[in-house]
Symmetry: C2
Subunit: 207 residues, 2 copies
């Protein structure tokens, strides 16, 4: 049976996952909504509510089994399996993504990096060689790549999205200002840094 998890709860799951992992690192295998509330600055009521939407994980007088809950959340998030990623664009942002140490622990495997600048082709970053864009389709198919992180500027990315989709990419992690039109079976998650900074500013001005 498919769980239907409210979006607000889902948005908190990565944070639960992270805290439960921290507890396991400390050798703590059992916790309560009160203990989690203390650590996470959530209310115990909210935590019990969230957990109840995931299934009935707590037991009265016992609390939550940390490794069990950790595994369950990883299954819901889909991070109990591996997912292959390529990064398009080898600028600072591309480097930051390839070097991001946390992704591996969530099952995200950096497989390749592509750029349009011929001077960068052949350079190796964390064991990953920068390849030219004309090898994109072959690589995606041979290496079973599901996700592409797009970090190159809008004006350098002619037809890029269409090529990714045709080659079989199912998820586009979009750091550029590309307007991404994709078929229904492909998902786009936008990360617009300037928009995030504008949100911060707006909140500062309206406090």
């Amino acid at each position: 049976m498919e769980l239907r998890i409210p979006k607000a709860v889902f948005d908190r799951l990565p944070r639960y996952y992270r805290y439960l992992g921290d507890l396991m690192d400390l050798g703590i295998n059992r916790t309560s909504s009160y203990d989690l509330a203390e650590r996470m600055s959530y209310s115990a009521t909210l935590i019990r509510h969230d957990m109840s939407t995931l299934g009935d994980f707590g037991r009265l007088g016992y609390g939550y089994d940390v490794p069990y809950l950790h595994t369950k959340i990883s299954e819901i998030l889909g991070i109990n399996r591996c997912h292959n990623i390529i990064v398009i664009g080898s600028g600072n942002l591309g480097h930051a993504i390839v070097n991001h140490s946390n992704f591996a622990q969530y099952g995200f495997v950096m497989k390749g990096m592509f750029d349009v600048d011929p001077r960068l082709i052949g350079m190796v970053i964390r064991g990953i060689e920068i390849q030219p864009l004309d090898r994109l389709e072959t690589f995606i198919q041979e290496q079973d790549i599901q996700i592409a992180a797009v970090t190159i500027p809008k004006n350098k990315a002619d037809n890029l999205v269409d090529r990714l989709v045709r080659a079989g990419i199912k998820g586009i992690w979009n750091f550029s200002h590309l307007e991404v039109n994709v078929p229904e079976n492909v998902v786009v998650e936008d990360v617009h840094l300037s928009e995030s900074l504008m949100k911060l500013l707006y909140q500062m001005n309206h406090r």
Copy 2:
């Protein structure tokens, strides 16, 4: 009078601002909800709704005055003035932020960069020298810094947030996994890349 803008509308404002800027670059000074709808893949109805919440900017039979609307949105977003930023952490992500060419056009001025690694102190990136953390407070006060982008790992950031707040920072742009407890007059905007990637994955699995 303070406008009360619904969050959903506000979240679209940076995108309107960007499209209106593109129109101005093309020398187009007049547009309509239908024209914008075509370009932005929004519905004309949504655009008219959004504009009406900002005030009455359109005129029947004329449409929208592009430069006027562009200016109005910049005022609402607060980007018609300059805001000084420092970046804590000079890794790839810190570099990506300092090198991000779009921020300047929104009035965000990169003023300084700080790191804990003594080997990096004194290096210059885009004219900005990397400084040691013990100069943080002085620099914030002397240079009138309002915003700090925090990109260093959680375990390297002892007391960092408290120090930023005490020194007068009003907005924290948080790329680390720091749990940020700040007084009411300070705003935090979190950018958790691994959470964004998990959201993408979840949507891929539930299409």
